[in-house]
Symmetry: C2
Subunit: 199 residues, 2 copies
């Protein structure tokens, strides 16, 4: 019914989170009416995403196929302080809040039953190995920066167990963040104080 | 703060209707985590849109730079019955409902003060010229298929005036569609009956 290109756009883009078939249809017709120049900007913005890579240390996003992200690469960041977070956006929110100079491990979104995916276990294993090789098996602090809720409580205890004896302190960020709340939606003040009052 | 490509994506895509900066950010990170193959499908679906053209008769979308759309090009459609609609999506909804075999003029979204944009006036002028040249200045019916509301009432009277003496009948679709309702959200039954009961 729709022109082939429109239908194809709808089929593909309606798979994106929060974009259903109706919204994809709207977008398709909106885009179809743009001049070629503007449309090319959309195409090149989307194409730019393909050049991004994954940091081999923190599993964050890296620019233009570098092996390490800016933070892991930086000589001024404290490699002996590691914050374990769920998502890439958590890193950006914490960086924007300021006050933290350590590095990160992005674990990926937690399952709601508190168990870790094989890939998440592997990430923790790789971090352990890196601490052994690069930091003589001992760091200053591992901060479990997971939004406080029941399933992250369980994951936190797994992490504490796994890194036992490998860090001077293993802490969780302070409960300044409301229970059930997500880190990326926290205001900067709450986030900073939850870092300060970590225990 | 964000990698350059991510920021660029957010800047561009947050301009789309219903996509604000927060949703664009979510999309960017979602896309960044897809494998290259899947991402390429998104890129090519978006690039496909650029090949679409505009029909020089009805101002609808045409595939691959043709001058006429499928409907205007078709030999089986009744060129002496013309439905004037607001949007491309209206055409698709009417076609999907079935029962209409005429052609269309897509006027573009109406301003809420009932006045016509210069481009909309030009479209009506071109239709008049086409009726004069191709149909000897007289067609069977012009159906004003605009969603019933106060500003379209005014536009309808302008259209009736403009095409006076050029059609056997100038009708408006039946008020089966609730006042204030939009054509593209109408169910097929209501839409068909509003075509049948046109007056």
């Amino acid at each position: 019914m729709f022109p082939r290109q429109i239908q194809n756009f709808i089929d593909i883009f309606s798979k994106l989170p929060s974009i259903g078939p109706r919204m994809a249809t709207r977008l398709a017709f909106y885009l179809a009416e743009l001049d070629k120049n503007t449309l090319n900007k959309f195409i090149s913005a989307l194409s730019g995403i393909i050049d991004l890579g994954v940091c081999t240390h923190c599993f964050g996003i890296t620019e233009s196929k570098k092996t390490l992200c800016e933070i892991c690469e930086s000589k001024t960041r404290d490699k002996k302080t590691i914050a374990i977070v769920e998502k890439q956006t958590d890193v950006f929110t914490i960086e924007k809040a300021g006050g933290y100079n350590g590095i990160y491990l992005i674990l990926g979104e937690l399952k709601h039953d508190g168990t870790l995916e094989p890939e998440q276990r592997k990430k923790l294993e790789l971090l352990k190995k890196r601490i052994e090789v690069e930091q003589n098996g001992y760091v200053t602090e591992i901060i479990i920066a997971l939004g406080p809720n029941t399933f992250s409580d369980f994951v936190a205890s797994v992490i504490k167990q796994a890194f036992k004896g490998m860090a001077e302190r293993i802490t969780r960020i302070g409960r300044g963040i409301p229970t059930g709340g997500q880190i990326e939606f926290a205001d900067e003040e709450t986030l900073r104080s939850s870092f300060e009052r970590r225990s």
